[in-house]
């Protein structure tokens, strides 16, 4: 009649399962550390090499065959032009496409094909977009290796991923919100305009910033277009030749080590990283503001 003895210490199978659980934690931590560690080392090395060259003169000087006199002026201006034009060209198309697919498109097999293609296009290597840009915009449309050709190429590259991110954000908007609006006699467009878009905006913003960051760092596609030139003036319109910061970095990196251009490349990388970080920060601020409204 003695009370049954219940052992609550981990034994047998439970002990093994718990050991595995504890072990998994360390494996996952190690995986995270490898990624962060490599990144931290790269950042340290870049800053260590380039920080000394990071002066106001470096930002405001044109390129030069002397490393100490060379600067980022024309490539920063070129980047701003190309990115600005890319945003203007890509965003209306991308957001419009996402709204149409999620809110208005008839759900049929054709739509499934379109969605599948968008996902595939988002995974196409950028050099392919460069070849497309060279054939269609530079040659066929006779735009030359101009800012407009570059922006059109980058727009084609970022539209698929922006569409996918925006679609995802629009899908996250609860159906009950749409129902509430439609039940009040709002039209489909009024519902999208006043409820779906404001709700989806933070998610759409995230997608836009990721896409624009990628465009900001794009090199291969633009070099393919022929934007690998020596620019010693300020761009003033869309039909001029141009260079961008990543192209300039590539340009400096491939020079012989002795000339000191590697230091310039590191300094330029710091500038590019800071710019992309700032973009992300702005996106985060906008996102938070909308979330709290």
């Amino acid at each position: 009649m003695a009370a049954p003895v219940i052992i609550l210490r981990a034994t047998g199978r439970v002990a093994r399962r718990q050991a595995l659980s504890r072990g998994s934690r360390w494996v996952l931590l190690a995986a995270s550390l490898v990624g962060v560690g490599v990144l931290a080392y790269l950042a340290y090395d870049t800053i260590d090499t380039g920080a000394s060259r990071l002066t106001w003169d470096f930002l405001t000087s044109y390129p030069s065959r002397f490393a100490e006199r060379a600067g980022l002026r024309s490539s920063i201006i070129g980047t701003v032009w190309v990115l600005g034009a890319t945003i203007v060209l890509a965003l209306p198309v991308a957001i419009g496409t996402a709204i149409w697919i999620e809110e208005f498109a008839p759900k049929n097999p054709l739509l499934t094909v379109v969605k599948l293609n968008l996902a595939n296009l988002a995974g196409v290597p950028s050099i392919i977009y460069g070849i497309l840009g060279l054939a269609v915009f530079v040659r066929f449309a006779s735009l030359g290796p101009s800012i407009l050709a570059g922006a059109l190429t980058l727009a084609a590259m970022i539209i698929p991923m922006t569409v996918i991110a925006a679609q995802e954000a629009i899908r996250q908007v609860p159906q009950s919100l749409r129902d509430g609006s439609l039940a009040l006699g709002a039209t489909h467009w009024q519902t999208v305009r006043h409820h779906v878009l404001p709700q989806a905006l933070p998610g759409i913003m995230t997608g836009i910033i990721l896409a624009v960051s990628r465009a900001a760092g794009e090199t291969a596609a633009l070099i393919m277009l022929g934007a690998f030139t020596f620019i010693a003036w300020d761009n003033t319109n869309l039909f001029e030749d141009f260079t961008t910061v990543p192209i300039q970095i590539y340009n400096w990196t491939v020079r012989p080590r002795q000339q000191g251009f590697q230091v310039n490349a590191s300094a330029a990388i710091i500038v590019l990283m800071a710019a992309v970080l700032t973009l992300n920060l702005i996106a985060a601020v906008i996102r938070e503001r909308f979330r709290h409204e």
């Binding site: 509430g180 039940a183 009040l184 006699g185 709002a186």
Partner: protein, 300 residues
């Protein structure tokens, strides 16, 4: 245009109504089979009905959800739709303001008239239908905007030109919410309690100026106290509005409704109207054994 049509409708003679009622009744009795012995208009006469359904059937894809429902809803009364889950009562409610057609692949046959107009006729615009027929949902779904904007939204999109402040205040008062929120109409609608949110949704519906409010289990996400407030509100609103309420809660149906319709899904999954009559009669002396079984808790 539509307003003109409604006025024409209002001047119809009593004869026409009676004839229409007869026609509906005849249709019902001729369809035979598993048909309930209910009249489209239950027990007592209630004048011109607001909605008349004739042989309404509904499918989600190939899945039948409603089969041959024929019934009429009285003006300025609370009508409750009760029945176990999956009996089609929410589907029926959503057929009344064309919210069902937002789901792809649905199909509807039969007729739904509102003020004697077939709302599924080809020349009828669902937006016009929905702005005249208010709806409150199961889960309170205020917009993530201020209380003021929640109420004003419907009026704004419908091109309301009057004094918006006055309309917002009046609607909130009608929904018995004004006193609780009057100090800060700029506060987010999401900051309110569940019961307040649901009353905000009612105010929002009222601001568009409907004459009927459809309520889809409006209290199922609320505590008993908030539920009581909504029920009191329903009894107040029925002075000026027609209310059709879907509820799982039979005590609630008994407390708030004038008429009760009991629905049940058949073996094919399609909901059918089993019994429809004055609430008191349905609850105390139902005609159908299945109604009695459900009401006394023997199933469902």
């Amino acid at each position: 245009m539509a307003r003109l049509d409604l006025e024409t409708v209002a001047t119809r003679t009593r004869d026409q109504e009676l004839q229409e009622g007869d026609r509906a009744a005849t249709k019902m009795s001729t369809s035979g089979g598993l048909r309930p012995a209910t009249e489209p208009s239950p027990g007592i006469s209630f004048g011109e009905p607001l909605f008349v359904l004739r042989d309404l059937s509904f499918w989600y894809g190939n899945k039948p959800a409603l089969a041959d429902v024929t019934m009429a809803f009285p003006v300025n009364r609370v009508t409750a739709l009760i029945g176990p889950s999956g009996c089609g009562k929410s589907t029926l409610l959503r057929c009344l303001n064309r919210m069902n057609e937002l789901i792809p692949g649905v199909r509807l046959t039969g007729e739904v008239t509102y003020h004697s107009q077939d709302i599924y006729a080809s020349d009828i615009d669902p937006v016009e239908v929905r702005r005249r027929i208010g709806m409150v949902f199961q889960k309170p779904n205020p917009f993530p905007k201020s209380i003021y904007d929640n109420v004003a939204f419907g009026a704004r999109v419908n091109g309301y030109r009057g004094d918006m402040d006055e309309l917002v205040e009046r609607s909130l008062k009608q929904a018995a919410l004004f006193d609780e929120v009057k100090d800060d109409l700029r506060k987010s609608g999401l900051a309110l309690s569940g019961g307040q949110q649901q009353r905000l949704c009612i105010a929002r519906a009222l601001a568009v100026g409907p004459d009927v409010i459809l309520m889809d289990e409006p209290c199922s996400a609320l505590d008993p106290f908030a539920t009581l407030k909504i029920e009191d509100l329903i009894r107040e609103l029925v002075e000026d509005f027609t209310i059709i309420i879907v509820t799982h809660n039979m005590q609630q149906a008994a407390r708030v409704s004038d008429f009760t319709a009991f629905m049940l899904a058949g073996e094919d999954g399609a909901g059918r109207l089993i019994e429809y009559g004055p609430t008191e009669k349905v609850f105390t002396n139902p005609e159908e054994q299945r109604t009695e079984d459900y009401i006394t808790g023997r199933f469902g």
